[in-house]
Symmetry: D2
Subunit: 109 residues, 4 copies
């Protein structure tokens, strides 16, 4: 089944939101130090999801290429979030990353 | 009535999408030169809407300040789009800019 | 004296670098929690300095407007960094913010 | 020979500047339509160079990965600019893309 721009943009924007919420929640944890990697991955992943969404919205000739890269970053971010699976915000973020990676990979293919 | 983060984020993301679609449509017009200002404003406005959405999603201490600025940029972009009101994409973009400016102004107040 | 685009772009790029270095150093501190505000301001300020530099480099009709806003964000970020003046990276970042705010204000006027 | 962060950041920032200047110059050409692809690639490439520079400046765990991707986008943008080699700004931009791709590839390896 083919992936439409619309569905993939939706997955990217949901992942951007989950990453930014997780970034915020990590910075509000008691032990922020333990979450420092998660904070870093969340920032990058949110920025790249925004980039991918904008590329699809503007029908960029690089849209598929950017989606392929976005999938890889979502994989990496999701893996870090899974390691912090005790925190609800990390579980949610890992799930959003998994869905976005899947959508972006379909888009890129 | 107070504006919630959720509503204002929605308005910013819809304006980002409208600006990117308008940017794309302007670049596909027969007379691109006539649309060059619109292309420039669309790019800036889309980027600032993304910034504002991300600031609210991460509960940034600068979120209101960024929303105030986003409202001003949406006003400027909407004004340019209105001047190209013969094009459907510009009319849509002007409307999204108007709504986003209104939401951001309420958020900032 | 007038501010040239070139000088102001340089100040923005130096401030972006100082903010990103400070963000990194804050996340490597023993007590990350104490630095959480600084981390947030650094991220926003770096992104807005990048936006301002790109606006000037592309001779955007919104360049002055964005510089005015960049000056305000640099003021806010510099104030937070000054409060953490025991850390060398915060002192450096506060200084870069001060210089960038000054350059951007001249540009905007 | 190894590539230092400092050198690679410099190449990314120079490419970002060249792309934004080329974007601006393309929008000021008499025949903007002919340059529409170049405008699109310049925007993406400038944004990704900014992302790569920020990732290195903040010692992101994803810095090398982002540099690898930046090299691919610079290759693509440089190729488009070469096709418009009659314009000085496109020649300059193609050269900056070539240097940035080379630096990013060394960084990623």
């Amino acid at each position: 089944m083919q992936m439409s721009y619309e569905e993939c943009i939706k997955a990217c924007l949901e992942c951007m939101e989950a990453c930014n919420s997780c970034y915020d929640a990590c910075l509000k944890e008691d032990d922020v130090k333990m979450m420092s990697d998660c904070i870093r991955y969340n920032r990058e992943c949110a920025d790249i999801c925004a980039l991918a969404a904008q590329a699809m919205q503007s029908d960029s000739p690089l849209a598929k290429h950017i989606c392929q890269f976005c999938a890889e970053i979502c994989d990496a971010c999701g893996k870090i979030c899974e390691q912090h699976g005790h925190a609800e915000h990390c579980r949610k973020c890992a799930e959003a990353c998994r869905k976005c990676a899947e959508a972006c990979r379909k888009m890129a293919s």
